[in-house]
């Protein structure tokens, strides 16, 4: 990296063309990870001298490496961590060589910090997993590898460190590699590499070591400089999540965003989702002139030929290659919050530029990151990983994470604390119809036996009422219907949810084939009682207006509906009042033209167990009486 022999302009021009590699390093506390990073940075001569001289002082005071320079001290930043001698968060390091610029996400290895590795690894192209040659493949190695594969990192390098402590023995290295291969084949990582090294002594870090002549591969730095990563991007499926609508004046409207995948050119046909409106790309204007093509991860603005309404959170795609569009999907979820998952929370889900409400329908299983074993759990805790089924309020436009990291990833935000509580990677092994909704096994049993999944108290909360029945009994012409219809109207105006059932309506349809004989009347009222029961079960107040002349019949109805839900009201009109009200009917009955008329040729039994006895003379007042009764009994309103 010296510039002496190189003209500085040439150097800068060449430097400008470098690409960027983002990598993740993972290892446990003593694997020598910080030493490796420090060595890579130091040996690529990007450490300034004053940092070095400060370092020499630091090493003497609290170094852990004896008389040697402690490279790890270069890296630790926060006070508390330095005192504990461990790194506790993700730290980003930068160095560059003649060929590439590197961003290292340095993450710690201990158990409680899966969260940090996931964070550091989310943007990484490559993961270096450190192993201590004296210890071999340990649980943490497996955990780190699993997390790398979960994040879809395509390239993994197993850095077998501390080879100096095993006399640079080839067999030790080969055994570790074989051991690791056995494990890694269960996972989905396309490119796995092995490098034996000593970070402390510098063997195989920058230059190939003479001490391991049996190793014919590249040094760590050489490997990092040459590994091909740009093809890991998805250039096939054009996805453009609209981030910002640009409307500086009347003539220009542009849609800004970062290309998630695929390539776009002026003239390309594009479809807006969810509207499915189609237009063409007119220009791709930038500060430095119009582009003739754009590709990920460029942040661009698209001007379209036609005026279509598109807002933030929507997506532009090619019409012949659509993403999945669902509200119901499955994802691998990593729980990141100190507070455990509460599945009843309505989270905010942010995917790309799209934010929507989301709920967890079901947690299928939890994965043990150490053994990859799956187990059924009710919820996830900090650093736990599971597979969950989601339903969102708005439709998401996504691809499986495996195919497209940018459209397949999301975060979950707690609606109260606003913390990022979990992150998800969408999988699409099943279509959305096949996915379970939030239906548990006990619920399934209920459905099979026809029991609703909404409880009485949920209905009660929604309607602010108890689903019960006001059963009005009384002679023909006693004013039952006047009372029932007026009551229905009053309750409706007050905000209650009610259904009114009356004799003539039911008899004209549901009970059409039945006459007024005692048997048919009993059947007719049995049907009414079952309807009232259904309504009450679903939280609705039923007002039933029926003569229901015998105590026996009324008791049977109460039984069907449920005694505690059955409120019997007697419209106690005098016979004179009734006859006066319906003179023709009573005349026919008295003349024997009409049979089965309660109060005439059949008995009307005085009702027992009535809650109210009312009088038809002043209906308005009586309605108030009923309203008062409903309020007192907390039938309506409950609150």
């Amino acid at each position: 990296m010296t510039t002496n022999n190189l003209n500085i302009r040439e150097f800068l021009d060449q430097d400008q063309k470098k690409d960027l590699l983002r990598l993740l390093t993972a290892g446990s506390v003593d694997d020598g990870k910080s030493t490796l990073i420090g060595r890579l940075m130091f040996d690529s001569k990007m450490l300034y001298e004053d940092q070095l001289s400060a370092l020499e002082n630091d090493s003497k005071r609290m170094g852990h490496a004896g008389e040697d320079i402690d490279y790890a001290l270069l890296l630790d930043g926060l006070k508390a961590e330095r005192e504990q001698g461990i790194t506790i968060d993700v730290a980003y390091r930068y160095f560059s060589t003649a060929k590439r610029k590197f961003i290292i996400a340095d993450t710690p290895g201990h158990e409680q910090y899966t969260r940090n590795m996931i964070t550091g690894g989310s943007t990484a192209n490559l993961a270096i997993i450190l192993i201590d040659a004296t210890k071999g493949v340990i649980t943490q190695t497996k955990r780190h590898t699993f997390l790398a594969s979960l994040l879809g990192i395509q390239h993994v390098v197993l850095a077998v460190n501390k080879m100096d402590l095993v006399d640079f023995n080839q067999k030790v290295f080969d055994d570790i590699c074989a051991d690791y291969k056995k494990f890694v084949t269960q996972l989905d990582i396309p490119d796995v590499n092995f490098i034996p090294l000593s970070a402390l002594k510098g063997d195989n870090v920058v230059d190939i070591s003479e001490k391991m002549p049996w190793y014919h591969g590249k040094s760590m730095l050489d490997f990092l400089e040459s590994v091909h990563v740009s093809s890991d991007r998805n250039y096939d499926d054009f996805r453009f999540p609209v981030q910002y609508v640009l409307r500086p004046d009347r003539d220009f409207r542009g849609f800004s965003g970062r290309i998630a995948s695929g390539i776009v050119r002026p003239g390309d046909k594009v479809m807006a989702l969810p509207s499915r409106k189609i237009s063409k790309v007119k220009t791709i204007p930038t500060y430095n002139g119009n582009l003739d093509k754009a590709f990920p991860p460029q942040a661009i603005t698209l001007e379209l030929e036609d005026e279509i309404d598109i807002s933030r959170g929507e997506m532009l795609v090619t019409p012949d290659n659509l993403p999945r569009m669902e509200r119901h999907f499955e994802a691998m979820l990593v729980w990141m919050d100190e507070e455990a998952m509460d599945t009843s929370t309505q989270f905010f889900l942010k995917q790309n530029t799209n934010t929507t409400r989301a709920r967890i329908d079901m947690l299928r299983y939890k994965v043990d990151v150490n053994t990859l074993d799956k187990s059924e759990v009710e919820y996830l805790e900090l650093n736990e990983i599971g597979r969950a089924v989601f339903t969102t309020a708005k439709t998401l436009f996504f691809d499986p994470y495996k195919k497209n990291k940018n459209t397949g990833a999301f975060i979950l935000i707690h609606p109260v604390t606003n913390n990022t509580v979990a992150v998800g990677m969408i999988i699409d092994k099943m279509s959305s119809d096949e996915l379970p909704s939030r239906i548990t096994d006990t619920e399934k049993e209920k459905i099979d036996s026809g029991i609703g999944l909404i409880s009485g108290s949920e209905y009660q909360k929604r309607y602010n009422q108890k689903g019960e029945t006001i059963w009005i009994t009384g002679l023909h012409g006693s004013g039952k219907n006047l009372l029932a219809f007026s009551l229905e109207k009053r309750l409706f105006q007050l905000g209650a949810t009610i259904v009114l059932l009356d004799g003539s309506t039911i008899r004209s349809g549901l009970s059409r084939e039945l006459d007024f004989s005692p048997t048919d009347r009993a059947e007719h009222l049995r049907r009414v009682a079952h309807i009232a029961k259904l309504l009450n079960d679903q939280g609705i107040i039923a007002i039933c207006s029926f003569i229901s002349p015998s105590d026996n019949i009324r008791r049977q109805c109460a039984k069907v509906i449920g005694e505690e839900r059955f409120h019997l009201v007697h419209m106690d009109a005098s016979m004179d009042y009734c006859k006066n009200n319906k003179p023709k009917l009573y005349q026919l009955a008295e003349e024997g033209e009409l049979r089965h008329m309660p109060g005439v040729d059949e008995k009307f039994e005085e009702p027992e167990n009535v809650v109210l006895t009312l009088n038809p003379d002043n209906i308005d007042e009586e309605i108030n009486t009923i309203i008062d009764y409903l309020a007192q009994a907390k039938i309506y309103p409950v609150k």
Binding site: L20, I118, Q243, P248, P285, T353, T420
Partner: protein, 302 residues
């Protein structure tokens, strides 16, 4: 796939533009803090790019400690006018009237009152819910762990243990009323990237960055320029003309120069590649105590 491979600078540019747009879309009242320095100049250019052909939809704010180099203030006013920026200049006027300054009150009090407090005052006055800053992670050790969206409580305080996980390029922008976010779109840029970008994009910067003969007083190894008559006479008298440039810009009594012949960006970079001091050591405020930047950040400094 070479054809579809972005260079390091263009990838960083895309990342920053995405961040800037995300803040503009998610927050009601963002502001971009403009320090007049080279990083700020890059950041403002990125904002202009993000909303091209439209205008930047939020104001810029400069916290003027009243002790900035005169050339900085001139540059700021000329450039803002030329570009038509919506620029707010805020100072802690009360403290200024009391005569608080680095020569009389020391660097710690001055920085606290005229920079940190002035900043918090400015943010509260305009009720900004998001503030862009030009800090980079490679500047200083404790910055290496800073999030791009850095959460601040109602008192603008930063808690290193209570930062939100930040994955992919999905940023959690939800805050409660009164809370805010500091946003660092240049997080992943290095000093070399900044210079390269200034060169590539021909971004104007304050001439103080380039070497020139300037009146310099050696204060315990810090090369301090005599920028105005407020420097105590007994110090100013010792000034000698030396060819120097500034690697960072701030309050002139607190910003040390380096002796240099570099009067072009190319020469600056050449010098940088072979330098013996890293960037922030020319800032006098860093010497107060170990991990002092972390302390300042906790208190609300950028």
């Amino acid at each position: 796939m070479k054809e579809y491979n972005l260079t390091n600078l263009r990838e960083l540019e895309a990342e920053s533009i995405h961040i800037i747009r995300e803040v503009a879309a998610e927050f009601e009242n963002p502001v971009m803090l403009y320090s007049i320095g080279k990083d700020s100049s890059v950041m403002v250019r990125l904002a202009e790019k993000a909303f091209y052909p439209g205008k930047v939809p939020f104001p810029l704010m400069h916290i003027d400690s009243k002790w900035k180099f005169r050339e900085m203030v001139e540059f700021r006013d000329r450039y803002a006018k030329e570009k038509g920026w919506d620029l707010i200049v805020h100072s802690n006027m009360e403290a200024f009237k009391k005569g608080i300054g680095p020569f009389t009150h020391g660097s710690k009090v001055h920085t606290d009152v005229m920079k940190t407090q002035a900043l918090l005052e400015g943010l509260s006055k305009y009720k900004f819910d998001a503030a862009f800053g030009g800090a980079r992670r490679d500047e200083e050790k404790s910055r290496a762990k800073e999030r791009i969206f850095s959460f601040r409580d109602r008192f603008h305080q930063w808690d290193p243990k209570n930062q939100r996980p930040e994955l992919w390029n999905i940023y959690n922008a939800r805050v409660h009323k009164g809370e805010s976010i500091r946003v660092f779109p240049l997080s992943n840029w290095t000093e070399l990237d900044i210079w390269q970008y200034i060169r590539l994009e021909e971004i104007p910067i304050v001439p103080l960055y380039f070497a020139k003969e300037r009146p310099i007083v050696d204060m315990d190894g810090n090369l301090i320029m005599v920028d105005d008559e407020r420097m105590p006479k007994e110090l100013a008298e010792k000034a000698q003309m030396r060819k120097v440039r500034f690697r960072t810009l701030g309050c002139y009594p607190l910003t040390g120069a380096v002796e240099s012949e570099a009067d072009t960006i190319e020469k600056i970079v050449e010098e940088m590649m072979t330098v013996t001091v890293s960037e922030r050591t020319t800032r006098v405020i860093d010497f107060d105590q170990d991990a002092s930047m972390e302390q300042k950040k906790r208190e609300g400094y950028f």
